[in-house]
Symmetry: C2
Amino acid sequence: MATRTPRPELAEARERGFHNIGEASGQTQVSAKMIRHYESIGLIPPAARTFANYRLYSDADLHRLRFIHRARNLGFPIKQIEKLLGLWNDPGRNSAEVRQLARAQIAELDARIREMQAMQRSLEALAHHCHGDERPECPILDDLAGIVA
Amino acid sequence: MATRTPRPELAEARERGFHNIGEASGQTQVSAKMIRHYESIGLIPPAARTFANYRLYSDADLHRLRFIHRARNLGFPIKQIEKLLGLWNDPGRNSAEVRQLARAQIAELDARIREMQAMQRSLEALAHHCHGDERPECPILDDLAGIVA
DNA sequence: CTTGACCTTGCCATCATGGGAAGCCCGAAG
DNA sequence: CTTCGGGCTTCCCATGATGGCAAGGTCAAG
């Protein structure tokens, strides 16, 4: 019989298509640190473990991590990604719900962009009026100091 | 003799033009919480105190807080505000230095805006191709799942 | 004196991420 | 078999700016 002690168990798991956290990280662009974090907050289910307590990831797990990574790159916060994952795994979903999430994210980005653009306009006006030489007079500081002038 | 016990000392200080933290907050738009925080990180010097340990702010202190508030509204992070305050208090400053800080902040905003705009463009392209009806097919999820199609 | 509003400090939470320490594990080389 | 580098584990801390809450002291008005 081939029932051996559970020593070379990681290698065995790898032969069966599993990946340790380092591999998972390398193949999904998600840092090992963040993979553990996502597990701790319940965004991904607890990973399988070897006898030595190493995390094991299946190809499906990697798929999920890549999904998360792409969603993060689109600026989705974790809470929204949870919903997206739920819809992804729901065969009876309505695409309307997904699009709604995307639209909400677009609006969110829009709000933040507008805010920053307003800051930019103010700064540019101020910088424009500042000589920017060796003299101390500076409309930028005057404005910050509240000298409406 | 008028040397009384230090009881009605806050009222006295107020008569001399000082403000407690609530007033300071109301007059500068900076929350009491943040005023204490700014003190704890050294952005503003430790406030004077009454015998009862209440913080006291002079008009100059309020001026400083308003300066900070305006700089925050322009998106400056605390570290940059420290520098701005230093320049503000330096009669021998070069306005070039101030303008340089403003330009750096503009560039910083620009980078963040561009990043978000890129996200927006991707999201809009995806949302555009999604039917958004009761059917489950969804190019948004397909993209997140890595289906390059 | 009581009461309500305000002040104090301190700790926790956010959001997503990185850094580091202490200790165990694996695989390869000697 | 021993050793050694690198990878894994958990746990704690830090970021940046802000809010919230709790326990306790203080002030001012009634």
